[in-house]
């Protein structure tokens, strides 16, 4: 059953990252973060982008090191889980780098 947990790791990481970025978005808009400046631009998008990139790095780590040594099908499913999570995190959260935050 360990391979099932390995298969779920990628999608679960997406779930956590998606919730975290969405929560950070809501909190930032409520606390007026877009107006707060940092040396690297407004605080709000910066915080979300950093969180997103950290999450993508974790996805990369999963893809590199999260493997199962059972049957070929188990190995395939673990690999698929890693990629589903990574692609989902990249595709659903890329708006943090292109869109206006609280408009």
């Amino acid at each position: 059953m360990a391979w099932v947990l390995r298969m779920l790791a990628g999608p679960l990481l997406w779930g956590a990252l998606f919730s975290a970025v969405y929560a950070l978005h809501g909190l930032g808009c409520a606390w007026d973060w877009p107006a707060r400046a940092t040396p690297a631009g407004p605080l709000h998008p910066l915080a979300m982008i950093l969180l997103w990139l950290a999450g993508l790095a974790l996805h990369g780590a999963l893809i590199l090191w999260n493997r199962a040594d059972g049957s070929a099908r188990q190995a395939l499913l673990v690999r698929a889980g890693n990629w589903i999570g990574a692609v989902a995190s990249a595709a659903t959260l890329f708006p943090v780098i292109v869109l206006s935050t609280c408009g």
Binding site: M1, W14, F18, I84, G85, A91, T92
Partner: protein, 832 residues
């Protein structure tokens, strides 16, 4: 990994059948039928009842179409029309689609996985009675003219007490929540059955795809339904006791309802689609005469759908004023979810490509699926695009889209499934031609109704209007839709007639009429109540094993100990683990459902002071259920096959009940997480925060802290009650645990007096709910503790037998964790 298990000696198949039938049959007569718990009976009841509700929902749809056929629609008055469209949606979602798929899963899974029954037969029966009673309450309101009329998603404030006085909204909230008990029950049952009751040696990666689909569905139900259950509880608390969760003046927010509703509502669509896709993945390879193409890819697609579908809910809320970036997250997720769907569609086409397809009636419905669902999926992608959604949202375009998805993605596959498995249910072939005529009428009628409705929406017609005197340009479109609707209704009537004719006049079917390979066809037709006289193992992996299994060559043959015995396997590998005894016919489920029903009815009638009686009845019923958890003596291992004997489930820690409790706690944890989301959402988003100064003082802190310590002590005692079960200290520990749990409940009662009036502000109301959550779980834990204490006192535990203690520990730990989190949250609110 899966070692061979030798075969049992062959016996006379007929004698074995009689031996099994005696133990596994339902009781005769209508009184006997109230006691049925067998999965085939319960599954068929679910499906038949859901079909009745489908017919009722269909009649309501025809009334809607009659009203809209002309622009002045003087056929119904607005109040009645609002009830009718609300009931059409609610019935089709909650009383047709969900119970239908539950019924299919409950009926089919043990057969296709090679088991005799579901993991919790009584739970299945309880679910059915809850569904029937809840559905009846909802239906009765329609006959009495008090039906819900706020639309099937019940947006507040429209469904609040101010704008919907009377009981109509309460009917929806209480009735649907009552029915949802059956959904959560079915989810727990299906997950445990799939993970632990597969044929010996059937590893997860080799189980029929239907198993993966239903596993995904049940997991989604487990996580998808709790937000709606919580939302319904909160709204009912607001309506009944004026606790302001959605009232902006007192720190509530109507958007909280929308989030909770769609957190359920969007996964719901995939909960409905996945079993239907499972049917397609089962049927298409049979008629193409090749193995399914891309097994691994399809499992991965199911995995993707299960997760992604929880990241889409806000696409129902694109016009509520959420910032564009947040919309974009959900828009992208909604687009991405099309990928696993399309992987499956291409896998099915590839399978047909690789084989030679026989166009039998089930395949016609599969074609109906392709002709309908592809378009529904594409309009879904369109609606996922934010700007287009701003135009199309809440118009007839959405109505058209959702019917393409639900009829294409659920009704057609279900009709394929029904026509496919009908010979197994009735033991007969169908009568020629009627089914084909029904298919064509439904297909043409459907597209006649809904194809042009996309255009109607783009021309500006919103949903849920009953007349449109100023817009003659919508009239011919609506008339076409209405005519199409009538044609479709005629088609469904013919479909039902076809099923009835098959039952009454069909020729006797021979075994395995479609020459399928899966184990569901490794039994005589119609399927016997016990499914397999001896259970399939590594030697009997597919339908070709029908005769050896009937002759008792498989595992655990017959019922020599006069009780319903099933084989429990390891979740991952399918290695045989132990023999579980499952309960036989009993009226306990219907009494429990009646007790629950009395609670809901008393709430509905506003007789809150009488509800303690109903709660007492529920506790009594719950106590009776636990009676099955202990056994008075150690039993010798049960022979399963030559050289393989396995212990009874009472002598095992990882029982089905234990797995079921873990599964249930996942749903319970989701409910609690939804509550935390509610606290966070209102704190950050709702107007009129921060809340007024709270009156919580040292007394409240002492009561809460004392309660938490008592819960911790009870948790520790529950652990000791199990580890020292063969010594007198075990009974002492159980007694200590019960007393500590009781003390904790008393202290929580004290705390209730210290809280601020929950009607003052949403924060105070939420604290009331957090406290209620702790009290509820305390009551459950206390019951389990008492059960363990009784087990220990009455000698129902031993070194081998653990009784209820393992399950008690699980609930204690959950109670401790949630109570600690709640206390921490309140302290944070007070400090921050």
């Amino acid at each position: 990994m899966t070692e061979d298990i030798p075969a049992n000696p062959a016996r006379k198949a007929l004698r074995l059948h009689r031996e099994m039938d005696r133990i596994w049959s339902d009781l005769p007569g209508w009184r006997g039928s109230l006691a049925s718990v067998n999965h085939s009976t319960i599954g068929l009841r679910f499906m038949a009842t859901s079909f009745v509700f489908f017919a009722i929902g269909g009649v309501l749809a025809m009334l809607i179409r009659a009203q809209l056929a002309t622009r002045d629609g003087a056929f119904l008055d607005t109040a009645l029309y609002n009830q009718i469209f609300t009931m059409h949606g609610s019935i089709m979602m909650f009383l047709f689609a969900i119970p239908m798929l539950e019924g299919l899963g409950m009926w089919l899974l043990p057969k296709i996985l090679g088991a005799r029954d579901l993991a919790f037969p009584r739970l299945g029966a309880l679910g059915y009675w809850c569904y029937l009673f809840g559905g009846t309450i909802i239906l009765a309101s329609l006959l009495l003219g008090m039906a819900p009329d706020g639309g099937w998603f019940m947006y507040v404030p429209l469904s609040g007490k101010t704008h919907t006085p009377g009981v109509s909204a309460d009917v929806w909230l209480l009735g649907v929540t009552f029915v949802e008990i059956s959904a959560v029950a079915a989810a727990v049952e299906i997950i445990v059955t799939i993970l632990r009751m597969r044929r010996a040696g059937m590893g997860l990666t080799r189980m029929p795809l239907m198993g993966w689909y239903m596993l995904g569905t049940a997991a989604m139900m487990l996580v998808g339904f709790p937000p709606l259950i919580l939302g319904s509880i909160l709204l009912e608390l607001e309506r009944a006791f004026d606790w302001p969760f959605f009232d902006i003046l007192r720190g509530g927010d109507p958007l909280l309802w929308q989030h909770l509703f769609w957190l359920f509502g969007h996964p719901e669509v995939y909960i409905i689609f996945l079993p239907a896709a499972g049917v397609l993945s089962t049927i298409i390879p049979v008629f193409a005469r090749v193995p399914i193409l891309g097994y691994g890819a399809i499992v991965a697609a199911v995995l993707g759908l299960v997760f992604l579908s929880f990241g889409l809910w806000v696409h129902h809320m694109f016009t509520v004023g959420i910032p564009h970036m947040a919309l974009a997250f959900f828009s992208a997720a909604s687009a991405l979810v099309a990928v696993p769907t399309s992987v499956q569609i291409f896998a099915w086409i590839g399978t047909m490509w690789a084989g030679r397809v026989e166009l039998r009636l089930p395949m016609l419905h599969v074609i109906g699926f392709f002709l309908t669902f592809v378009m529904g999926g594409l309009t879904g992608v369109m609606l996922a695009m934010v700007p287009f959604n701003w135009q199309a949202h809440d118009t007839a375009f959405v109505t058209a889209h959702l019917h393409y998805v639900l009829v294409g993605g659920f009704v057609f596959p279900m009709m394929a499934g029904i026509t496919y498995w009908m010979p197994m249910i009735s033991g007969r072939f169908r009568v020629r031609a009627l089914g084909e005529a029904a298919f064509w009428l439904i297909l043409l009628g459907f597209h006649g109704t809904f194809f042009l409705m996309h255009l109607t929406g783009l021309l500006g017609m919103p949903r849920r209007i009953d007349r449109y005197p100023g817009n003659p340009e919508w009239e011919w479109l609506n008339l076409v839709s209405s005519i199409g609707g009538m044609v479709m209704a005629a088609g469904f009537a013919l479909f039902v007639m076809d099923i009835g004719m098959q039952w009454l006049f069909g020729r006797r079917s021979h075994r395995n009429p479609w020459r399928a390979e899966t184990l569901d066809w490794a039994m005589a037709l119609p399927a016997p109540p016990y499914n397999f006289a001896s259970l399939p193992g590594p030697r009997h992996p597919d339908s070709s094993a029908i005769l050896p299994l009937a002759r008792g060559e498989g595992l655990l043959p017959g019922s020599p100990r006069d009780r319903r015995e099933v084989l429990v396997t390891d979740a991952g590998t399918g290695r045989p683990d132990h023999v579980a005894v499952v309960p036989g016919n009993t009226v306990l489920p219907i009494w429990t459902a009646a007790a629950l029903g009395s609670f809901f009815l008393l709430m509905l009638a506003g007789l809150y002071w009488l509800t303690p009686l109903a709660i007492a009845a529920i506790l009594w019923a719950g106590w009776q259920w636990g009676g099955f958890m202990g056994s008075p003596r150690d039993a010798a291992p049960i022979p399963v096959a030559p050289g393989l004997s396995l212990p009874e489930h009472w002598q095992i820690r990882q029982t089905l009940a234990y797995s079921g409790t873990v599964t249930l706690l996942v749903a319970d944890g989701t409910l609690y997480a939804s509550l935390l989301f509610g606290v966070g959402f209102l704190t950050v988003i709702a107007p009129n925060w921060p809340a007024p100064e709270s009156g919580l003082g040292l007394g409240a802190l002492l009561a809460a802290g004392g309660a938490l310590l008592s819960i911790a002590a009870a948790t520790l005692a529950a652990r000791l009650a199990e580890t020292r079960r063969d010594r007198p200290t075990g009974a002492t520990a159980a007694l200590t645990g019960v007393l500590a749990a009781g003390l904790a409940l008393a202290l929580l009662g004290v705390l209730a007096w210290q809280l601020d009036d929950p009607r003052r502000h949403a924060r105070d109301a939420l604290r009331g709910v957090l406290l209620g959550h702790a009290v509820f779980h305390g009551a459950v834990a206390l019951m389990l503790g008492l059960r363990s204490l009784c087990d220990a006192r009455q000698g129902r535990t031993s070194r081998l037998r653990r009784g209820a203690a393992p399950v008690w520990q699980l609930f204690q730990a959950f109670w401790l964790a949630t109570a600690a989190l709640s206390l921490g949250l309140v302290i944070l609110q007070e400090v921050g």
